[in-house]
């Protein structure tokens, strides 16, 4: 295939992906009870489009399967088949097979065995008494032959309003040959009806085409032409008689009449070889010429009402022109000048708007520039005197910059639905493989996330779902024995909170067997035999490299080694994994991910003479502690009395090993809060409050626990951004190596 066609096919494959997504959503909706006309039509259209394009690019198997699937959908759409749960189930499995065929067409997978699916579709059609479409060579046996697809799909052959692909040879375009007496020939009689002129039809074009095939006009019968008064410009009155050399295939002749209205007179008769006969004696009256009326023909007025006037000479000249044109034009699509390259990132098409496809790298560039703009704003603010800073221009500038930034960020943001789209199919397969009944609940699919994040959480999500299905959920028997519902449920959810995205996979299975996990970890040397660990710490052991609790290597989740890969993938994105498990009730895995290129409202503080940024969203209040307000409760920990509530206190030395010997009474304590509690952070001073651009550390380094990135301040220096969650989580669990997971 030429480069250009490759590009077009690439776009077709993207459309297939979108179409498959739409179809799956529609089918899921139908399964849930929504069998409205709109939903069904959506599924039909999606499969129909895939079929159309597949045929154009020569993917015979895909076309054939899609065709059969489309038949069923068409019948459902027309109300001839009722979408019962059984029928919907067949459609769902057919959908899976269709997806596989698309993968095959892309060259990414071997051809699926669609015999069972085809048979099921056949049965659905048959049960409703719907006859198979004529001529479609789709038996219950697999692999319909490639070539016939085209003709079979265009089953009705030569009806007047159809079009049948037939071999067509350029050699036919020689100058019309003289009908010789000794050769067989065709006689064609054509009287277009009034309807033939309707719909902008033009019978003369057909005559022209016949002439290009070699016909000659023998006569024109104008006997039906009425007087001028009764002349209807929209009616046809002529009857043409033409003769055609006998070597022209009949199909070619009838093809010409493809679009002619059914009530026209079209007679094609073959004249076999006769005794030397002269050319049929015509009444040699050309269409419009004021020659003596032929024998028996009435007088006609010379008013040409036929749109294209022609004498025989004119017609011949026109025919020659057409032939010349055709000879000069290549008959196959040649590579035209470069089609503008369209690459990744289709913006999801919304109902009322147009969309364009944009290069992701251009968006990235734009985002970087916006980030720079924000920094420059900060620097500018720094350089101005306090009085000047109040001038209206600066806040205006900041506001505009913020607007641009919001809009640009939203360009890259897409609903996380895309990342979830594989899951239903995955679960159907897992359900079959494990023999367990698994139900899926999804929420928050419209949560918008940066496109880069969507791309990278696919694999971790897959691992987590597989683990839940394989290890988390019990078998149906076990569940019943435990008094649970026979079907296990996996809940998949996404939620945005502040500058973070929470993606959860929750199962209502057996929960983590902590005894076994701990034993395995000891056995693998991951922890020492006498280690004392909290429940959360044991749970996190699952993510340790080299860990596995699978008794046998199952096909689905391998050794269960997915989790350490999941954790490192998530950490590489600047996030982390939390595990929450209740034995007997289930387990929840949460991926906490940052929104990329967040601009953070931050409080700049100094800690041991180094500047840090605290996310303002987490800051509750700041106090200058009075004497005795901070109490030491143990050698390792202190608390501060906040109106009767004792909040743990952390110092720079504890967190970062920095030198911090300032007495607490000379310092400030900033009370910060996360999901899991509060902490009082001892700082030297508070410098400022401003918006900062988060620069990810793991671009060039690896994620560092306790830090949520870095930022560049107005003077070019770097301030590290503190991860409040980690700070709070580390309370009372500080280890010499740094913060616990």
């Amino acid at each position: 295939m030429s480069d250009e066609l490759d590009e077009i096919q690439a776009i077709f494959f993207e459309e297939c992906t979108e179409g498959l997504t739409t179809a799956e959503q529609g089918l899921s909706a139908m399964q849930a009870g929504d069998v409205s006309a709109e939903t069904i039509a959506g599924v039909f259209r999606a499969v129909h489009s895939i079929k159309g394009g597949a045929g154009a690019f020569g993917h015979a198997d895909l076309t054939a399967f899609a065709h059969k699937f489309e038949n069923v959908l068409d019948e459902v759409r027309a109300g001839k088949i009722v979408p019962t749960p059984g029928v919907i189930k067949v459609m769902l499995s057919s959908f899976d097979v269709l997806s596989d065929h698309v993968e095959t067409a892309k060259g990414l997978a071997p051809r699926p065995n669609d015999a069972a699916a085809l048979a099921a579709l056949e049965k659905v059609l048959a049960d409703k008494g719907v006859a198979e479409d004529g001529g479609a060579a789709a038996p219950a046996a697999p692999a319909p032959a490639p070539a016939p697809v085209v003709e079979a799909a265009a089953a009705p052959a030569e009806d007047e309003f159809g079009f049948t692909p037939v071999a067509f040879s350029l050699d036919d375009f020689d100058a019309p040959s003289e009908p010789t007496a000794s050769a067989a020939s065709w006689t064609i009689r054509f009287k277009p009806s009034r309807a033939a002129l309707a719909n902008a039809g033009e019978p003369l074009l057909i005559i022209r085409e016949l002439e290009t095939l070699g016909a000659t006009i023998e006569s024109v019968d104008v006997s039906d032409v009425p007087g001028l008064r009764d002349l209807d410009p929209e009616n046809a009155y002529f009857t043409w008689t033409l003769s055609m050399p006998g070597d022209v295939p009949e199909n070619d002749i009838t093809d010409c009449f493809d679009f002619v209205a059914p009530d026209s007179v079209i007679e094609v008769t073959r004249n076999e070889v006769e005794a030397p006969a002269p050319a049929p004696a015509p009444i040699p009256v050309p269409v419009i010429e004021a020659t003596p009326a032929p024998e028996g023909a009435p007088e006609i007025d010379l008013i040409p009402f036929v749109p294209v006037t022609a004498t025989i000479e004119d017609l011949t000249a026109q025919v020659q022109q057409v032939v010349a044109d055709l000879a000069a034009t290549p008959m196959t699509p040649t590579p035209a000048p470069a089609v503008p390259t369209e690459s990744a990132a289709p913006k999801p098409a919304s109902e009322a708007s147009q969309t364009i496809r944009v290069d992701l790298s251009k968006l990235d560039l734009l985002l970087n520039l916006v980030g720079e703009l924000v920094i420059r704003n900060s620097i500018l603010a720094d350089r101005l005197s306090p009085a000047d800073r109040q001038r209206v221009e600066l806040p205006e500038l900041a506001r505009l910059t913020r607007q641009i930034q919001d809009n640009v960020m939203s360009l890259r943001a897409q609903p996380i639905k895309q990342a979830f789209s594989r899951v239903p199919r995955m679960l159907r397969d897992l359900s079959v493989e494990t023999g367990k009944q698994i139900e899926l609940e999804t929420t928050g699919e419209t949560t918008e996330v940066d496109k880069g994040v969507i791309e990278k959480i696919g694999d971790p999500l897959t691992h987590m779902i597989r683990n839940a299905a394989d290890h988390g959920l019990e078998s149906t028997e076990e569940r019943i024995a435990a008094g649970k519902s026979p079907a296990g449920t996996i809940k998949l959810s996404a939620e945005q909170k502040g500058a973070r995205i929470f993606v959860r996979v929750q199962d209502n299975g057996r929960g983590i067997n902590r005894e076994r996990v701990k034993a395995k970890a000891i056995e693998k040397g991951i922890i020492s035999a006498d280690a004392v660990l909290s429940n959360e710490e044991i749970d996190q052991l699952i993510c340790a490299p080299g860990f596995s609790t699978a008794e046998k290597i199952s096909n689905i989740s391998g050794r269960g080694v997915g989790m350490d890969v999941v954790r490192s993938n998530v950490e590489a994105l600047g996030g982390r994994v939390e595990i929450h498990s209740v034995p007997g009730e289930g387990t929840t895995f949460t991926m906490i991910l940052p929104l990329t290129l967040a601009i953070l409202d931050g409080m700049i503080v100094r800690l041991a003479n180094q500047r840090f940024v605290l996310p303002l969203a987490h800051v509750l209040e700041t106090v200058q502690p009075e004497e005795g307000q901070v109490k030491r409760t143990s050698p390792d920990s202190e608390v501060i009395d906040m109106r009767g509530e004792y909040v743990p206190v952390k110092r720079a030395t504890e967190i970062f090993g920095l030198n911090d010997d300032r007495p607490v009474e000379d310092s400030l304590v900033v009370i910060v809060e996360s999901e899991h509690g509060k902490v009082g952070l001892v700082v030297d001073t508070i410098d400022d409050r401003r918006e900062v651009v988060i620069k990810s550390l793991d671009q060039n380094l690896h994620p560092i626990r306790g830090l949520g990135g870095a930022t560049i301040l107005g003077d070019g220096s770097i301030a590290l951004i503190l991860d409040i969650e980690a700070l709070v989580a580390s309370t009372n669990r500080y280890t010499p190596k740094g913060l616990a997971a």
């Binding site: 077709f12 159309g52 799909a153 079009f163 692909p165 067509f168 719909n199 902008a200 074009l205 679009f259």
Partner: protein, 121 residues
């Protein structure tokens, strides 16, 4: 001046295929991605021929043809349907709303060219 054809199809890849094929045969091409858009383009570019798909969101091919034929200025404009469907009912319906001809997908370039010449002088 070569003839101008307006193609209407909701599939970008199909529009591109048509454009490649028809430009190589010497036609100028404009395109639209659904019936509504197609109607607008008809007014804007006044093509010599309209080629449209049937199954499209917002306004399907039948509705488009009907709307086009309702306007006097387009009564003489040939309209070809290009669709994977081929049932008699659909074809009759197309004819009744005013289509000049029907071509079934997948199409061969030569057949498409011949069909165009049959309706478009």
């Amino acid at each position: 001046m070569s003839k101008l054809i307006l193609t209407v199809d909701d599939s970008a890849s199909m529009r591109m295929l048509l454009k490649t094929s028809l430009t190589a045969q010497g036609y100028r091409i404009e395109s639209a991605n659904d019936g509504q858009h197609g109607l607008e383009r008809m007014h804007e570019v006044k093509p010599d021929l309209l080629i449209t798909d049937i199954n499209m969101p917002k306004m399907d091919g039948f509705e488009l043809i009907e709307a086009v034929r309702a306007e006097g200025q387009f009564r003489g404009t040939p309209i070809l349907v290009l669709s994977t469907e081929f049932s008699d009912e659909k074809k009759q319906r197309a004819r009744s709303v005013g289509a000049t001809g029907w071509i079934t997908k997948p199409f061969e370039a030569t057949k498409l060219g011949a069909a165009i010449r049959r309706v478009c002088p």
